[in-house]
């Protein structure tokens, strides 16, 4: 089943074109990697799918399960099952991670027509997932991402991804700022969430991440569009030859 369908997308920021005629189709169960040099529009694409303001969509469509995603508020997109793991997760002092998780989970459940979880159910669920990601109880008591290391912030993103049960996960440079051990934990958390109903878009600079999260498809982005698509072997080719060949192609 087609989850996400992007047709001829054009996006600008301050009248500067960032995405120029991008097409992408993602089916349930698939993992797509999007690779590309800095400034190719990868993060912009993830922000536009999630609904961040400040971007002007000047053309094209984004359909999610056939519905126009661009017409929805960011929280409606989240309720429909879109999840963006942020490249730079924000710090929210004064809101404990536990309180945040609970508020968000209950908002999502309500929007999806399900009842709130009881406190014991919620705690059980959080502790199970947190344990597998090496997230301590102390971290859960602290303000959201406050004083977290780069790796802890990314693990917290994966924790949310597991709790909120999205159907489309967009991982925006989930590997940035991670050492090799942290990368393994994060990747194994993500791999555990792969399922026939769920799709993932993995945005990265480096082929390294794709050793751990093996994609079904690899797309190369350059200057705001997909310039080449292929299987996982395309990533290896990029590792060997670099992006330069595609910059001219775009």
């Amino acid at each position: 089943m087609t989850l996400l369908e992007i047709q001829d997308l054009n996006v600008g920021v301050d009248s500067r074109e960032i995405i120029r005629g991008l097409d992408l189709m993602v089916n349930a169960g698939e993992v797509h990697a999007i690779m590309g040099p800095n400034g190719s529009g990868k993060s912009t694409l993830s922000h536009v799918i999630a609904g961040k303001s400040g971007y002007e969509v000047t053309g094209g469509h984004i359909l999610f399960r056939g519905e126009d995603l661009l017409e929805m508020e960011p929280n409606e997109r989240a309720a429909k099952g879109v999840f963006l793991a942020f490249q730079y997760p924000v710090e929210i002092p004064g809101v404990t991670t536990m309180n945040f998780l609970r508020t968000a989970l209950n908002a999502l459940r309500k929007a999806r027509g399900r009842g709130e979880l009881s406190t014991p159910e919620f705690l059980k669920k959080v502790r199970e997932v947190a344990g597998s990601l090496n997230i301590t109880r102390d971290m859960l008591k602290r303000g959201v991402n406050v004083g977290f290391s780069g790796g802890e912030k990314k693990r917290n993103e994966v924790l949310q991804m597991a709790l909120f049960e999205p159907s489309l996960c967009i991982l925006d440079e989930i590997d940035s700022g991670l050492d090799i051990d942290a990368l393994r934990i994060v990747a194994s958390g993500i791999n555990g969430l792969r399922s026939p109903e769920r799709a993932m878009i993995v945005i990265t600079h480096y082929q390294r991440l794709l050793h751990y999260i093996v994609p079904d498809y690899v797309h190369v982005m350059s200057k705001g569009r997909v310039v080449k698509s292929g299987g996982k072997e395309l990533a290896l080719e990029l590792e060997a030859c670099g992006y330069a060949q595609f910059e001219t192609a775009a």
């Binding site: 961040k52 303001s53 960011p74 929280n75 989240a78 924000v90 004064g94 809101v95």
Partner: protein, 440 residues
């Protein structure tokens, strides 16, 4: 020089204002003379204005113009309205003392309770029943502040509370000050004395009865926390939308004593809380915090002056303001460290969150440090909600309103969490959440 004078009504001069009120004000012997002197001090200065540094952002001459005539003594109907309103702000388990239109209302108060631990009299009772002028000092004006002088001249009632050495009052004492009238003023003056080692929590709630509007409240609380005493004082101003409230606290803190101060203003038209705290005993500690929740055209001013008069004292202050619509929040924090006050530790943080383009916040930290071996710090910021934080929360399923609410609650929570007692922290949080719900 032109002076803005207090007027009872159009064309009526200043001196008549006191004369007209005097027969209704308590106290014989020396008291009327002291009142007259205080009134002269007020009349010489007139209402404070922006050319006075302490009133720079709150120009009372421009903002209120004139002092309204004294409220009439509340009748049975007024008391019934006051009772209904007082019930709505009651702190759980508190010993309630109610002042209506500036007059103590024993019939609405829990006077009989805790009479062994707590000595409570009304100011009126003390001034009228003292054999000589011994109690006349209660209306002595202790500063050159004109609004405090005016209060000394016009105080119609208040509470005189004392807690004997070593006594711990576990239940909070809640002084509820209710306005029932319109276009009138009430002057209240209360005294609070904690003897050595005594512990107490005093909550002051300013509210209006339904239908009350355009009134002015001028309150002074003079408190002494004796050596090793511990006083928590919360002041919550939730006045009618077009009301004026000027409250002053003058508090002295003794050796190794502790004062926790919290002030929240969440409604009214013009509101000023000015607290003057003297850390006068070595090893004393002050924690002063507060929140201004400002919307519509409210002008809310919190001004705290801390006088580190002796060595080894600590003061910590944390203020947060949330300002919406055309509101204006003022925070002035002045810390004075005297030459002898070595080893002082003082910190001050004030932050304002502006929710609209017309909202304004003035933050003025002032440190006057005359000792060299001290640790003092201050920080002041103001700004809008961070859109990146709002987006993060929205991407996790929260509506825009809920995302803002969570962030604003966290912001003011930084100050509210300093309130020591759980039940009072919950009480203040609930009031703040009510304000947020109404706003968003």
């Amino acid at each position: 020089m032109k002076q803005v004078l207090a007027k009872a009504d159009a064309g009526c001069a200043t001196s008549n204002f006191l004369a007209a009120a005097l027969e209704r004000l308590p106290g014989a012997g020396l008291v009327p003379h002291i009142r007259a002197r205080a009134f002269e001090a007020y009349a010489r200065a007139g209402l404070p204005h922006r050319r006075m540094e302490a009133w720079r952002y709150t120009d009372l001459r421009a903002l209120i113009g004139e002092v309204l005539p004294l409220a009439p003594r509340p009748d049975a109907a007024a008391l019934a309205r006051a009772k209904a309103s007082a019930r709505r702000v009651a702190v759980d388990q508190a010993v309630k003392l109610v002042l209506v239109d500036g007059i103590f209302a024993p019939e609405l108060s829990d006077l009989g309770e805790l009479k062994n631990e707590l000595h409570v009299q009304s100011l009126r009772e003390v001034l009228e029943n003292s054999a000589t002028g011994a109690m006349a000092g209660l209306v002595l004006s202790t500063t050159d502040d004109a609004v405090i002088a005016l209060n000394a001249a016009m105080a119609s009632d208040g509470l005189v509370i004392s807690i004997a050495e070593g006594n711990t009052i576990r239940r909070p004492i809640q002084i509820v000050q209710v306005a029932t009238g319109s276009s009138v003023s009430a002057f209240t003056r209360s005294y609070l004395q904690l003897d050595k080692g005594a512990h107490a929590t005093v909550v002051q709630s300013f509210i209006s009865a339904e239908g009350a509007s355009g009134y002015q409240a001028n309150d002074v609380l003079i408190a002494l926390a004796g050596d090793e005493a511990s006083l928590s004082h919360l002041r919550i101003a939730a006045d009618a939308a077009d009301a004026v409230n000027i409250s002053s606290g003058i508090i002295a803190v003794g050796t190794r004593a502790k004062l926790d101060l919290f002030s929240m203003t969440c409604s009214g038209s013009i509101n000023r809380y000015q607290g003057f705290v003297t850390l006068g005993g070595e090893g004393s500690k002050l924690s002063a915090n507060g929140v201004n929740l400002v919307k519509d055209k409210l002008h809310a001013d919190t001004t705290i002056v801390v006088d580190h008069a002796v060595p080894h004292c600590t003061s910590r202050q944390k203020f947060r303001a949330v300002v919406d619509d055309c509101g204006r929040s003022v925070f002035q924090g002045r810390i004075v460290v005297r030459p002898v006050a070595q080893k002082t530790v003082a910190s001050l943080s004030t932050r304002a969150l502006l929710l609209s383009d017309q909202a304004a916040a003035d933050n003025k930290p002032e440190l006057e440090i005359s000792a060299d071996d001290v640790t003092c710090s201050h920080g002041a910021t103001s700004g809008a909600l961070d859109n990146n934080l709002v987006f993060y929360l929205r991407a996790r399923g929260l509506s825009e309103k809920d995302a803002q609410m969570l962030l604003i609650k966290a912001f003011i929570g930084e100050s509210i969490e300093e309130i020591f007692a759980d039940n009072l922290r919950d009480f203040v949080t609930a009031q703040a959440e009510h304000w947020l719900q109404e706003r968003l």
